[in-house]
């Protein structure tokens, strides 16, 4: 029954984004700009690219995602839709999870577009197990999004919410960012084993997803 509520919320968020494409367009434009500008500014060699590419990809994704996360609850705040949602018997956790997964998919789309651009501009050649990136990127992205959607909800009733969100989110996200950058660099350079960092990312995701889901009901019904 709760899965049905979650799917309803997810389908709604995907449909609304499909029609407006607000989040994806803003994220894509911003992330592409960061990647291209960094490549022009530093003009890295192939070896240097492998060292810094993981970090640039993560930071570009992080800043781009924040622009979308700031608007994550905008549609619910407009016209007091959130009050209508509070009046329904649907559990708050399903609303949160639907919103988080929808935003995760938006950021994943941006990453998929960004990846080939990255390879071309940074002349990347993966030395380690490249397939592990398929684990690292979703785990890191989920860590960013689950916290981002939660803290966007926490700050949505404040006046300076666009400033407040990165101020709360980035410090919380630092362990996941570290795990994401270190494991991506380890995979790209092949110099170390990324498994420990990937395990840390997975543990971070489990802990923060559980905590956010448990606390979301309180935030949803806060005045």
């Amino acid at each position: 029954m709760k899965a049905a509520y979650f799917l309803t919320h997810l389908a709604k968020d995907l449909r609304l984004e499909w029609r407006s494409k607000d989040a994806i367009n803003s994220m894509l434009f911003f992330a592409l700009l960061v990647v291209v500008l960094f490549s022009l500014a530093f003009d890295p060699t192939r070896a240097v690219s492998r060292q810094i590419a993981g970090g640039i990809l993560c930071v570009a994704t992080m800043f781009a995602a924040v622009s979308a996360l700031n608007q994550a609850w905008a549609r619910e705040l407009r016209n007091q839709v959130l009050d209508a949602l509070r009046m329904t018997p649907a559990p708050g956790a399903s609303l949160f999870l639907g919103k988080a997964l929808a935003n995760f998919l938006f950021v994943t789309v941006v990453e998929l577009v960004l990846a080939p651009v990255f390879v071309v501009f940074y002349n990347l050649q993966v030395i380690g197990n490249g397939w592990l990136l398929l684990l690292v990127l979703p785990l890191g992205t989920w860590a960013l999004i689950v916290n981002g959607v939660f803290f966007a909800a926490l700050s949505m009733r404040t006046r300076n919410r666009e400033l407040l969100l990165p101020l709360i989110l980035f410090p919380i996200f630092i362990p996941a960012l570290l795990g994401m950058v270190m494991s991506a660099s380890a995979i790209l350079t092949g110099e170390s084993d990324p498994v420990l960092w990937i395990k840390m990312l997975a543990a971070y995701d489990v802990i923060f997803t559980t905590a956010c889901m448990m606390m979301f009901e309180v935030i949803l019904h806060a005045e």
């Binding site: 309803t8 029609r19 549609r75 839709v81 209508a84 009046m87 329904t88 649907a90 005045e223």
Partner: protein, 251 residues
């Protein structure tokens, strides 16, 4: 005054304790040092319509939001569905309460029927009205594909009421339902609300258009500066019929 609909209940039907559906007891709501509600006490009976009047800032919307469970009282208690022997906090019985606000509470990007389908799917296990039927009952075309954001103000109000009706709520809390609405649409809405009495639903509605809504009222509750000024019988309680001042334009 023209008779529109014959009453279904004799006037001055006795009030029984078991008919109380909602109760506010010494409720105060503070925003910092400002008291939006001051020790408000009132009991609301099943199947009655209450018109809540008062100037801007009198506490009408705050009272409705408190009854809906969207606001927690700073002091005092709110009990809902007390007639069933189990007094509940509003949030625990929220699926049985319909709340309509000044805002549409609808997604601007969705059409009316898409909005209603979405909200209906959030009331699983409850016998919901079909979205098309709910829109039809408020005089909107369910086939209208235009997003709600492009509706006129009056159409938005009607779509908003349709959202409230979708879960067949037993307690309807309607905040300014007739604002931006032409007289014919408002009368159509009044007739629709009148039919809810036969289904023993309770209506609390706030408005600044007293003349328009008063014919529907069993009781008129007047708030002044957050406190109850008076609670008196309305025209419906005295006559048992819905009458429109100046006649019904459809006749």
């Amino acid at each position: 005054m023209e008779l529109v609909r014959a009453g279904r209940r004799t006037a001055r039907e006795p009030i029984m304790a078991s008919k109380i559906i909602a109760e506010v007891d010494q409720v105060s709501k503070l925003y910092g040092a400002f008291a939006a509600l001051r020790k408000v006490s009132a009991k609301f009976e099943r199947g009655r319509c209450y018109l809540v009047l008062g100037p801007n800032g009198a506490g009408k919307s705050t009272l409705l939001r408190t009854l809906a469970g969207l606001l927690k009282p700073s002091y005092g208690t709110v009990r809902i569905f007390t007639a069933e022997g189990v007094a509940e906090e509003p949030m625990q019985a929220r699926e049985r309460i319909g709340y309509m606000s000044h805002a549409t509470m609808l997604y601007d990007e969705y059409s009316g029927v898409e909005n209603l389908r979405y909200f209906a799917s959030l009331y699983r296990g409850r016998d919901c009205v079909a979205p098309e039927e709910a829109l039809g009952s408020v005089g909107l075309d369910p086939a209208l594909a235009r997003p709600v954001g492009q509706y006129s103000q009056g159409m938005k109000q009607r779509a908003s009421l349709a959202r409230v009706l979708i879960s067949r709520p037993e307690l309807l809390l309607l905040d300014e339902p007739f604002s931006n609405m032409d007289i014919q649409s408002a009368h159509q809405m009044l007739r629709l609300l009148d039919t809810f009495r036969t289904e023993h639903r309770t209506i609390l509605l706030t408005t600044h258009q007293r003349e328009l809504a008063e014919p529907l009222a069993d009781f008129v509750l007047t708030l002044q500066a957050g406190a109850v000024e008076s609670l008196v019988e309305g025209p419906y309680a005295r006559t048992g019929v819905l009458t429109f001042a100046g006649g019904d334009p459809e006749r």
